[in-house]
């Protein structure tokens, strides 16, 4: 007696909407990257100009007072000494605040990049997982059907084998665009890592400017080494500001 059998499944909506489209979306990090970069933008565009203005003013004050002391034959009044102490202290605080803000910006970007690293190869892994799940579910259905029908299991097997081949071909066809998405994701992460890398020499510069200023303060205003250290601090600070603007500013 002829026995009809029928079995159908449509994985497209669940696979696409439930797994693969969200997986591709996970790799679109443009908006998340923008969020992680916000502290950097605030620091470079809004606050660094103020730090720069205030530090340059402090350095100018120190130079003016030093010049007055030198012109007075090296004699320092108590008021001048107090002003120098306050101004050197203010300069150190400006540098410390600037460094703190810069470090927070680096922390945000580094944390973001570190978190995203886990998603390299994510979409391929998801596709493999989904394909395995489909094969397992279909194999179970196939075996149940073979058990249910009295004969003609060869027909069932042929039909399912055709379907397995179709599923395999479709997943194979998706590999190339998935690889491209993953590759672009990697490129985006590398670009982010280059941005984070810009902070490392900036940290080094900031540390040096603080050291030069502390060294300058340790010499008397009449000692040429004081002027040398102040000039070193001023020029390295200018380079720091220039690098931050050109490499991290929104126009870069």
């Amino acid at each position: 007696m002829e026995q009809d059998w029928n079995w159908s499944a449509n994985w497209v909506p669940s696979v696409n909407n439930g797994v693969l489209i969200p997986a591709v979306g996970q790799l679109n990090i443009a908006s998340a990257y923008t969020v992680s970069f916000q502290l950097t933008q605030i620091w470079v565009t809004a606050d660094l100009p103020n730090y720069n203005t205030n530090l340059l003013a402090a350095l100018a004050t120190i130079n003016q007072v030093d010049t007055a002391i030198i012109n007075a034959g090296g004699v320092e009044t108590p008021a001048q000494a107090a002003q120098l102490t306050v101004t050197f202290g203010a300069a150190a605080t400006i540098l410390q605040n600037n460094l703190g803000e810069m470090n927070s910006a680096l922390q945000k970007i580094a944390g973001f990049l570190n978190w995203q690293q886990q998603f390299i190869g994510y979409i391929q892994a998801q596709a493999t997982s989904v394909q395995t799940a489909i094969t397992t579910a279909a194999t179970n259905a196939e075996n149940n059907l073979i058990g249910d029908i009295a004969c003609g299991d060869g027909d069932v097997r042929n039909s399912f084998n055709g379907m397995f081949a179709d599923v395999a071909a479709k997943f194979a066809a998706m590999q190339t665009p998935f690889n491209a998405v993953n590759s672009n994701f990697q490129v985006a992460l590398n670009a982010g890592a280059l941005v984070a890398g810009v902070f490392l020499p900036l940290q080094g510069d900031s540390q040096l400017v603080s050291e030069y200023l502390a060294s300058a303060q340790s010499y008397a205003p009449t000692n040429p080494l004081r002027q040398l250290k102040l000039n070193m601090a001023g020029s390295l600070w200018a380079e720091f500001v220039s690098d931050a603007n050109t490499q991290l500013g929104t126009s870069s």
Binding site: N114, L189, L200, P201, Q227, M232
Partner: protein, 302 residues
């Protein structure tokens, strides 16, 4: 007194060439970075390939103090937790973090040489004797350029002291790889010999021989990975050795210059014409920029 016809001393030539501010030949751009610049991508690939190998990890652990290779991703994670990590006086414990920490110190030292020499003319106020004393302090006084150079040489030496077996590890890995190659060759010959014998027993023997070849191929591939990893690590060690030597030479140069007559050190022309101030300023600035560009790429993971 120097004359205008005298040429600035060339770096790294005869013993008397120590009387110069110019960058020593041991640190010629881009030489000091060559090993590290070309080595890290290879190192990371090779280490990723062999990190699952317990034998490699044991060898690495015995060779490097912390036993932690680290890498850009670990450094990113570390900066995400504590962004000031590379600014601390003590380096991170892992090999990669420690190398980057050292690279930042090299950058800072090179930058200090660059900005010091750029602004050196500002000290030329007063009598030659007074200026000479100040110049001597800039060169070899407390916190002077010789101290800066000596610090980097010391940090590089500390790095090497904690990683003393790179060469020995490479030798051992090469010997193991050669042994694996010989074993694979013998097994290949055995397989070819068995293939021509037409019996069921011979077929079983040949099957076992092929299985043996597969096993030896795995050993061969693993040993090749270790050779690559240890070769790149040895290359990096040599780069740090060059670094230690270059900064030691720089320290000695500054001390030699500082021992010049105070009257000479009190003359800007002595710095310009005898010590190569202009060339030195340019060279140290260029070197600092090279190291800066190098450091900026050290967080890229692959």
């Amino acid at each position: 007194m120097p004359t205008k016809n005298k040429k600035a001393a060339r770096p790294g030539g005869s013993a008397s060439s120590n009387l110069t501010l110019r960058i020593p030949k041991e640190m010629a751009v881009p030489g000091i970075c060559r090993g590290a610049l070309t080595g890290w991508p290879q190192l990371l690939d090779a280490m990723n390939a062999v990190m699952e190998d317990p034998e490699f990890l044991t060898s690495f652990g015995q060779s490097f103090a912390s036993g932690q290779p680290g890498g850009p991703q670990q450094l990113l994670a570390s900066l995400g937790a504590g962004p000031e990590g590379l600014m601390k006086a003590a380096p991170p414990p892992d090999l990669y973090g420690r190398f980057v920490w050292l690279a930042v110190r090299v950058y800072q030292a090179a930058r200090t040489f660059s900005v010091t020499l750029t602004h050196l003319p500002v000290i030329f106020k007063g009598t030659p004797g007074q200026i000479g004393a100040v110049a001597s302090e800039v060169l070899a006084g407390p916190g002077g350029l010789s101290t800066t150079a000596g610090n980097v040489a010391g940090w590089a030496a500390d790095f090497l002291a904690d990683f003393p077996n790179a060469g020995a590890d490479l030798d051992a890995a090469q010997q193991a790889h050669q042994a694996a190659a010989v074993a694979l060759e013998k097994q290949t010959a055995a397989c070819e010999e068995k293939d021509v014998v037409g019996s069921i027993h011979a077929h079983a023997v040949a099957t076992a021989a092929v299985a043996g070849m597969s096993s030896r191929l795995d050993v061969f591939e693993a040993s090749a990975g270790k050779v690559t990893a240890f070769a790149v690590l040895a290359n990096m060690t040599m780069a740090v050795q060059s670094l230690a030597l270059a900064w030691k030479v720089t320290k000695e140069q500054m001390e030699t210059v500082a021992q010049s007559k105070r009257e000479d050190l009190g003359q800007l022309s002595f710095f310009q014409e005898r010590l190569g101030l202009e060339e030195a300023t340019s060279e140290w600035g260029g070197f600092a920029n090279t190291v800066k560009s190098y450091i900026q790429r050290l967080l890229v993971t692959r």
